[in-house]
Amino acid sequence: MAASHREDNELIDRFLDGDEQAFNVLVRKHQDFVYNVSRKITGNHEDAIESAQRVFVKLYDRLSSFGKSSAFTTWLYRVAANESLNLIRSRKLKRWFGLEDAEKELPSSDDTPFESMLEEEKKEQLDRVLKTLPDRQRTVFVLRMSEGLSYQEISDILGVSTGSLKASFFHAVKKITNALGKIYEEQ
C-alpha cells in the first residue's frame, strides 16, 4: 500500500512538472476505484461514468492543491463522493425545473460474464433499495459498509460530525434490512 502511495505521489509530481502523460497513468490506475464509489452512490452506470469523468477533470485542475498530508485515495474518496452527490442534486434540480425527464431506470451496460444471475439480482435489489435512501444515508452506508472506511475517515470526506454519521448509518441499516426483508418475503 505504501508503495502505491509513493507511486501516486511520484505521478502527481511528474504531472505538476508538466508531464501530461503522468496524469493519464493516474487516471487509468484509479478509474475503477472512482467508478466503483460513484456507481454505488449514484446508483446507475451512466451517472457513475459521468461523475467519474468529472472527478478526473476536476483533479486535473486541482492536483496542485493536493497537500499529500493524506493518502491520494482518501482525497479521491472525498472528490468522488462529493461529485456524485453534486450530480444527484443537479439531477433533482433539473427534474424540478422540468429540464430532465422524471427519474427513470437507466439500463446498466455492465459486463458481468463471470457473475451468476443470482448475485446480479441481489446487487440490483440492494441498488434499488439504496436509491430510496436520503443522499447522506446512502453515502455513509456505501463508504462505511462497502468501502470499510472508519467514521473519522468519512467525517473527513463529507465534513459531517461522526455522531451524525453514526445516526445516518444506523438508520440506513435499519431501512435497508427492512426493505430487503420485504422483498425476500414477497419472493
Binding site: V27, S146, S164
Partner: protein, 196 residues
C-alpha cells in the same frame, strides 16, 4: 430502561467486528446482546448485509480502454471552450438560472421561520452543532423533559422511528418543530436548557 451509552459503545464494537473483521471484545459484545434484543438485532442485520454489500463495481470492459481518452477529451474541451463559467452561462441553463433566482426570491419573501427546532442528542450528552444556533435551540437527552413533551403530545409524529425514542441508539436525528407549543411550554423548555 437500558443504558443508551452502553448500547452506543457496544454497537461501535459490533461494527468494528463485522465490518472491519476486528474480532476484539467478542465476549463483551456477546454478554451485552444476551440481554439486549435491539443490539442483537443490529448485529444480525449487519451480518446479513455484509455479503450483499461486499461487491465492487469495475468499469465495463468495453469502456475501460476509452475512459482516460474521454477524460482527456473533456479536459481539452474545457481548455478550448469559448464561454466562461458564471460570466457566460450556457444557453441551456440560462432559463433554469433565471427561474432559480425568481424562486429563491419568492421562497425568501414567504419563508416561515420556526421559532425553535430541537435536536435531541442521546449519543453522548453533548450539544450538537449541526445547524445554525441562531435558528435552533438544542436539548440534550433528558428523560424527564422528554417524558413531559411526549405525554403532552407536543412532538409530531413525522419522525424517524419513534420506537427508538427511549431505547434508541444515535438519537441526534430526531428533529421536532415547536409548532403548537404554547409560550409557557417554550419558556419551560428554554429554562430546562439552561439547567442541563
Amino acid at each position: 430502561m437500558k443504558n443508551n451509552k452502553d448500547c452506543s459503545a457496544i454497537r461501535d464494537m459490533i461494527e468494528e467486528n463485522v465490518l472491519r473483521e476486528n474480532s476484539e471484545k467478542h465476549a463483551e459484545i456477546h454478554k451485552h446482546i444476551a440481554s439486549c434484543i435491539e443490539c442483537g438485532k443490529y448485529m444480525a442485520d449487519l451480518v446479513m448485509l455484509q455479503p450483499a454489500t461486499g461487491y465492487h463495481y469495475a468499469l465495463p470492459g468495453s469502456e475501460k480502454g476509452k475512459f482516460s481518452a474521454l477524460v482527456r477529451t473533456r479536459i481539452e474541451a474545457r481548455k478550448n471552450r469559448n464561454w466562461k463559467p458564471v460570466l457566460a452561462v450556457r444557453p441551456a441553463f440560462q432559463i433554469a438560472l433565471m427561474m432559480l433566482v425568481v424562486v429563491s426570491v419568492v421562497l425568501y419573501l414567504f419563508r416561515s421561520e420556526p421559532e425553535h427546532l430541537f435536536v435531541l442528542d442521546q449519543t453522548d450528552l453533548e450539544f450538537m452543532t449541526i445547524y445554525s444556533p441562531e435558528d435552533y435551540a438544542y436539548i440534550v437527552y433528558d428523560e424527564e423533559l422528554m417524558s413531559l413533551l411526549y405525554e403532552e403530545t407536543l412532538f409530531e409524529e413525522d419522525t424517524y422511528m419513534p420506537e427508538y425514542w427511549y431505547n434508541g441508539y444515535y438519537g441526534n436525528e430526531y428533529f421536532y418543530g415547536t409548532d403548537g407549543l404554547t409560550d409557557e411550554e417554550i419558556d419551560y423548555i428554554i429554562q430546562r436548557l439552561g439547567e442541563v
